[in-house]
Amino acid sequence: MNLFLDALAWLTDPERVTGPNPLAERIGEHLWYTVLALVVSALIAVPLGYLIGHTGKGRQLAVLGSGAARALPSLGLLTIFTLIVGVGNAQVAAIAVFVILGVPSILAGAYAGVEAVDRSVVDAARAMGMTETQILFRVEAPLGLPLLLGGLRSAALQIIATAVLAAYVGLGGLGIYIQRGISLRTYDEMLGGAILIVLLALIVDALFAIAERVARRAIGSAPSRGRPRSERPEPLSTDRQSTLEEIR
């Protein structure tokens, strides 16, 4: 416990504002990488995921590709990319690594969201005379939004945790405290840095949780009752019927 007290003392030391490695700056960097990487990942993954979800094609490929992307070690990618593009462009290398990290989750969120939309609803939309684009944007995208947000949420959390490595290629961020802490064996600094990262993750997580809830409410989501009788679960005295809302 006294480790934690040390960390708290470190966090509240005025040095953190006036000294080298001011907190605000490092938090700013960390957030900047996260947001930038998240936006780039989303720009790549969301259209791709929607395409896969809407056409039903390429899902297998996406699962395989995501699996492979997940197997790529971030540390290795970061070092090799930085070596290739040069440390002056380390930011590009780091963002590329974080994007590789973020894309699989967002991709899965995007296509799972679209796929989770009841096929009969899509069929109905088509039968009403909606064009494919209208179906995607007016039906599938809004109904799939909660799952997409779930994907974005976990991508964001992973990027926040991994952005620690940015410090190894001169990009700072909150990882600098951890890296220094490791080299100098200064636990207060290291734990302080870790606490900041966890806090950051929790805040981002909470924001996404709220966004998901809002999205669910906006689409009037509820366990659908319009399904055919055969799909309705039997009323069970001993079992709860689960819904996604309860889990998230």
Partner: protein, 275 residues
């Protein structure tokens, strides 16, 4: 008038859902396609609004080959009511009903006005307009589906087992409502069901299909019952299993009609106006 000429449909996986189907569906009349599961009813129905494209043959609406029409435009002027309702869960009832008019460019105020009057038409309370579909009962959802099908005032209304998902009492209500409605609006209705009772109740023309969309018999309900064209039809309408081979027995002083299994089918009355 809708006319099928030598229409066939083979799906990408090689299934021959419909082999060689020819039929005229007269305007302002209800044509019911009835047959057991997989007989191709839905496939035939969906060829009318090009949700499915025929592999061979032509489908014509009032002499126009649908293959020459733009699918999206075509669909926007044909009403389609689906079994499961197919309502958009994220849109309120009124917005569901007015989707197609809005897609066609109708202003919101006008569309809403039309939507509300359609709710009256199908017997839905206007207070339900702001609800989401999941906040309605199954029967109410079906009514919304019908209202949506009528929203563009289409000449043609396609109904694919629209009452399959609701319980029998509500179903009877909806059937009665549809009969009433059709008396007023006289659309060209193509109705799909696998319930022969429903087919006989609703159809001006009943078409019994066997696998591959082969027409086993077509005609008015009475024609079919009186002269089943084949064993298959007799079997399907229940004539030879005794359910429709009826006789009369006395019970508690009333003349009860019983079927070949000895089960009660109804009560005989001499008054043609008995309702």
């Amino acid at each position: 008038m809708i006319e099928f000429r030598g229409v066939g449909k083979r799906f990408a996986d090689g299934t021959d859902a419909v082999i060689d189907f020819s039929l005229v569906m007269p305007s302002h009349r209800v044509t019911v396609l009835v047959g057991s599961s997989g007989s191709g009813k839905t496939t035939i129905l969906r060829m009318i609004n090009r949700m499915v494209d025929a592999t061979v043959g032509t489908v014509e609406i009032d002499g126009e080959d649908v293959a020459t029409l733009e699918p999206v435009q075509l669909r926007r002027r044909i009403g389609y009511v689906m079994q499961s309702g197919g309502l958009l869960p994220h849109r309120r009832v009124l917005d569901n009903i007015t989707t197609v008019p809005r897609l066609n460019g109708m202003g919101r105020a006008e569309a809403d006005e039309r939507g509300l009057s359609l709710m009256d038409t199908v017997g839905l309370d206007r207070t339900l307009a702001r609800r989401y579909p999941h906040q309605l009962s199954g029967g109410q959802q079906q009514r919304v589906g019908v209202a949506r099908g009528l929203a563009v005032d289409p000449n043609i209304l396609l109904m694919d087992e629209p009452f399959g998902a609701v319980d029998p009492i509500v179903r009877a209500d909806l059937q009665a409502e549809l009969l009433r409605l059709q008396r007023d609006i006289g659309k060209t209705v193509v109705f799909v069901t696998h319930d022969i009772d429903e087919a006989f109740l609703l159809g001006d023309q009943v078409v019994i299909l066997s696998t591959g969309g082969v027409i086993a018999q077509q005609g008015t309900p009475a024609e079919i019952l009186a002269n089943p064209a084949s064993d298959f039809v007799a079997d399907f309408v229940g004539a030879d299993r005794g359910r429709r081979a009826l006789r009369v027995v006395e019970q508690d002083g009333r003349r009860v009609v019983v079927d070949g299994d000895g089960r009660a089918a109804g009560v005989l009355t001499d008054d043609p106006a008995a309702r």
